[in-house]
């Protein structure tokens, strides 16, 4: 897929996108929203004639010590077969335990034990889909005392051992760094560049946690200035990639989402132009 900006396709925009076919680099859909027989799947399938797709799962629970749920894996695999997306991704997180699903990206300790679990689950996913998947850095609201690896080091090892790629969510880096008192620039310093297959951009909220500000990854506003700045730093460090703008709560008019994507496109073009001049 070319290094252009796309948008997360959400239910309120489905009819408009299907009808107007607005120009955008690609569409990303959440796998879990298209696993039933609803008419929405048919709409998305028709849109494949006009757009490249990225399939973003949120429920495979790659960090579950109990492994990936067989039924869910089969459903996602069947959808991947139907949509034949350019990219498939999920998160460095877990969301299921004891047969219950929590609908959240819950945090992992970054330990050797957790690394073994995630490597095993990612390998199983890739074996089933017969392709590489991208694993996204999550937004974290806590760290575990038992962690022995930093998050980027954990991701680097995961890439090395499983052969997966990375989806770098720039907003999540800002959120995690703020919440855990880390330096975003240092977080970025040492990732396996060739494994990075996609970037995500989104807005976050600032909440109060017992009197201290905590950033919440709510995808409910425009991309913040800090995230745009870090995105420029990411582009300087790792170069252009397909870049997605996500908006999931208080979803605005489609035009506003497209504006944000256009801004990301501009940053990608500036970077590509600078690279071309340098070459």
């Amino acid at each position: 897929m070319r290094a252009v900006a796309g948008i997360g396709l959400r239910a309120p925009h489905l009819a408009e996108v299907a009808h107007d076919r607005p120009a955008t680099g690609f569409l990303e859909v959440h796998a879990e929203n298209y696993l039933t027989g609803s008419p929405a799947l048919r709409t998305v399938e028709r849109a494949r004639a006009d757009y490249e797709f990225s399939l973003h799962a949120v429920g495979l629970s790659l960090g579950s010590v109990e492994g990936i749920d067989d039924t869910h894996l089969e459903r996602v695999a069947a959808l991947a077969e139907r949509l034949a997306p350019a990219l498939i991704s999920d998160h460095l997180a877990w969301s299921a335990s004891g047969g219950r699903y929590f609908n959240d990206l819950l945090p992992l300790p970054y330990s050797e034990e957790a690394l073994d679990v995630v490597v095993r689950n990612v390998q199983r996913l890739q074996d089933r889909l017969k392709r590489q998947v991208l694993v996204e850095n999550p937004s974290c609201y806590l760290g575990f005392a038992q962690s022995t690896l930093s998050e980027p080091a954990f991701l680097g090892e995961l890439v090395r051992r499983s052969g997966c790629g990375l989806l770098l969510d720039v907003n999540n880096i800002v959120v995690t760094a703020h919440n855990l008192g880390l330096d975003p620039a240092a977080w970025l310093a040492d990732l396996p560049a060739s494994a990075i297959g996609e970037y995500h951009l989104a807005g976050h909220a600032v909440n109060d946690a017992d009197g201290a500000p905590i950033l919440i990854d709510d995808h409910g506003s425009r991309v913040s200035g800090e995230v745009w700045s870090l995105f420029d730093a990411v582009l300087d460090r790792y170069g252009p990639r397909p870049t997605l703008v996500e908006w999931d709560t208080d979803i605005p008019a489609l035009g506003i989402l497209l504006e944000e994507a256009a801004r990301a496109d501009h940053a990608l073009e500036v970077r590509a132009g600078a690279d071309a001049r340098a070459a």
Binding site: E32, N33, L35, T36, G37, S38, P39, R42, V58, G59, L60, S61, S64, V65, E66, D69, T71, H72, R75, W94, S95, A96, S97, G98, G99, R100, Y101, F102, N103, D104, L106, P107, L108, P109, S111, E113, A114, V117, Y141, L142, G143, F144, A145, Q146, N179, L180, G181, N207, A209, D210, A212, I214, I216
Partner: protein, 265 residues
């Protein structure tokens, strides 16, 4: 130190509202205490699942209002977390929960509205499938038609309520005229259906409802017709069956047809 299995089990317990001191001790706290950090996750799990229920049970929420609905849904979520990640399939137990929810006892029709919301949700998410047509039937000898085991089309369901829940549902929709519904107007039988782009319901008579329920149990056309007659001596099989075929309510999944389709040129 908690192993990953114990840590995830403890985290799951915390999300359900249990005290998990070993988990709290495993979390790094600073200006933001460990407990407050864990609370961010617990709130998100709860809020996102309440929002999923609000999307599925939109008529229930419209009737009781957002605050009441959220309080009710929070109680449900705490006792019945999803078993899989597709949120459109979460909430099967919510209508029964509503039926036993003491604070809404003054709204005796509410659980039936929840059942209608759920049936519409199931219909919307059911797969598109072939339905039985008049042409299918006309190609069969009459005695085969009578023996035909029936099935409802995917997503089709019959609901009975002692309240006019179709009217209640309609006036709870966004943009509906500000009308009052006479709760004493009597009960209804509703046939819920998947349509091309949405899900919908129509009123059916008691006999039609009985016929459809028999069809849903896989009874033959003859047996289902008998159930209809027993319910109402004036039951008109021909009119009912024609109507149901036009509504695409009956599935074309019988092996009778499989045979015929295979033989077709």
């Amino acid at each position: 130190m908690l192993g990953l299995r114990d840590l995830q089990a403890a985290f799951a317990g915390m999300v359900k509202g249990e005290d998990q001191p070993r988990l709290e001790a495993a979390v790094v706290g600073d200006a933001i205490p460990a407990a407050a950090r864990l609370r961010v996750y617990r709130h998100h799990v709860e809020q996102s699942l309440v929002a999923a229920l609000a999307a599925t049970f939109s008529a229930v929420q419209a009737i009781v209002g957002e605050d009441f609905f959220r309080a009710m849904a929070r109680c449900y979520v705490a006792g019945d977390l999803p078993r899989q990640p597709v949120l459109a399939e979460y909430g099967a137990g919510f209508p029964a929960f509503v039926a036993g929810y003491e604070p809404s006892a003054s709204l005796p029709y509410l659980a039936d509205v929840a059942r209608l919301d759920w049936a519409l949700n199931l219909a919307f998410h059911s797969p598109a499938a072939n339905h039985l047509t008049v042409a299918d039937l006309s190609s069969l000898p009459a005695e085969r038609v009578a023996e035909l085991p029936l099935a409802l089309a995917p997503g089709a369901a019959v609901l009975h309520s002692s309240y006019p829940i179709d009217r209640i549902w309609q006036v709870s929709q966004p943009g509906a005229a500000d009308e009052t519904v006479d709760l004493g107007a009597g009960g209804v039988n509703l046939l819920v259906l998947r349509r091309e782009d949405d899900a919908a319901f129509v009123r059916v008579s008691d006999a039609e409802g009985a016929f459809l329920s028999a069809a849903g149990r896989g009874e033959t056309l003859e047996e289902a017709a008998e159930v209809g007659f027993r319910t109402d001596g004036a039951f008109d099989l021909s009119t009912t069956f024609t109507r149901l075929l036009a509504l695409k309510a009956i599935a074309a999944t019988q092996h009778h047809f499989a045979e015929r389709v295979e033989k077709a040129p």
